[in-house]
Amino acid sequence: MEAVTLKGRQSGFELQLASEASLDEITAALTTLLARVAGDTKDQEHVDFVLETGDRLLNEDQAKAVQTVFDTYPQFAIKTIHAAVAAVEPLRAEFAAKATHLVGGVLRSGQEADYSGDVLFLGDLHRGATLKTTGSIFVMGQVEGLLIAGTLGDQEAVIVGDISRAAQIRIADTLEIIDKNSYTAQTTSYIDDLHALVHGKVPALAKLRPKLFRKLEEM
């Protein structure tokens, strides 16, 4: 197995840095490879490379070491560095931001629960309590407090379930004070094309927000 392999792709040139090889081996192999390529190309045409690091994440120093090799050849540049793996922590945060949280128990007057991602609420939200999240809220418990979806301004966020006894709902920058008599038991509340907070039937959600139903596929 070579430490560095050059591949031609439809999108351009790709340099595969073997994850089994050490960084010294890679820089050495890269130096000879770039020297050969520079000798082969007669004109000084500019070439961009995509670096594929496989199962290795280059840290800042390692990326700099690789960059130094390229610095000798002004006609060559690194377009991007791409790896097949990712660090756990940022991934966890990203996952948490996209996950659906199951929230239960009783939220009492004056209490506030704040989430990122979608929330499936299976508890009681008392009058004066607040449930808010950056994503959508799906309600199965009894809600008499305040529901806020899309706290960071997500226009696609929805509130689904029985909101007939809620005090108020907010999605992104829109809000509605709930008039106790004008809601059916189950509704989907969303922001429509005219940027108004409107309500529809629950089965309509699949057409309104198809992305909600393909979350895992798009992750």
Binding site: V106, R108, S109, G110, Q111, D124, H126
Partner: protein
């Protein structure tokens, strides 16, 4: 070792002080040694409803600041032979002149001598409330069948649940107007209990006798025939571990002949 309980409600005027005085009296009548502590600094009135205000020499702030020993400040209620004591609040001190740690220290000092220590919390959720809760093993939440009182009680239960108390909070629904509850114009007992989600300790009807007796410096519990008194007595028995069924508060239908011959004008 005595158990300390805080009587609290969030909202004012629901009957915290009356409840404290009556439960204390009822427990004393059952032969328990009880100490009532008023934590409403600046607006003390537990001593007033018990008719003991003229006997105050030192108060709780004097004790906390070391000006007096706790036994010098305790007032004995002579009607209940050595069973009922009151530690009065200060009247001329700042609201924040008492700290939660000081209250806890006083409670712990008195604990070995009493069966029950009942702390009367002021309205609100500020310093006074924190003081009262700090010294307590458990809480009695008082509410009335009004939406405002229930909403405040909900807030209080939320705050109490955040603290790790020995006993979970229990509920008293006070000032129940039977006719309004019967015709559905006020919230009913099940509705309130279910909403707050804590155990019901007892119910007390709204009764003229409560005000009349406290104006005389007595507690209504001393009158065994009064309906509110029975409510408080039942609560005391439940605190002592007896299982007492909830009293029936449905009003008897007053018939035509009864009204004719018992005309009250």
């Amino acid at each position: 070792m005595g158990t300390s309980l805080v009587v609290t409600s969030g909202k004012g005027g629901v009957g915290k002080t009356t409840t404290t005085a009556n439960i204390g009296t009822a427990l004393a009548l059952q032969g328990k040694k009880v100490c009532l502590m008023d934590l409403d600094i600046g607006l003390r009135n537990l001593d007033v409803v018990l008719g003991l205000s003229n006997r105050i020499i030192y108060d709780i702030v004097d004790v906390a600041s070391g000006r007096a020993k706790v036994h010098q400040a305790l007032i004995k209620d002579k009607r209940f032979d050595d069973k009922l004591y009151v530690l009065p609040a200060a009247q001329n001190a700042e609201k924040d002149s008492l700290e939660p740690d000081q209250v806890k220290a006083i409670v712990d000092e008195l604990r070995p001598e009493f069966d029950y220590l009942i702390l009367d919390s002021p309205a609100g959720i500020e310093q006074g409330f924190r003081n009262a809760v700090e010294g307590a093993d458990g809480a009695i939440v008082v509410t009335t069948p009004e939406i405002s009182a229930v909403s405040d009680a909900d807030r209080i239960v939320g705050l109490l649940e955040q603290r790790d108390m020995v006993y979970p909070p229990r509920l008293i629904i006070n000032r129940i107007r039977q006719h309004m509850m019967a015709d559905g114009r006020s919230m009913d007992i099940d509705e309130i209990t279910q909403h707050l989600g804590i155990d019901l300790l007892g119910i007390v009807v709204d009764d003229d006798g409560v005000i009349a007796s406290s104006n005389k410096g007595e507690t209504v519990v001393m009158d065994p025939d009064d309906l509110a008194s029975q409510g408080y007595r039942n609560i005391a028995r439940r605190l002592l571990g007896e299982s007492v069924p909830l009293m029936n508060i449905e009003q008897k239908k007053v018939g035509f002949w009864h009204r004719l011959f018992h005309h009250q004008g």
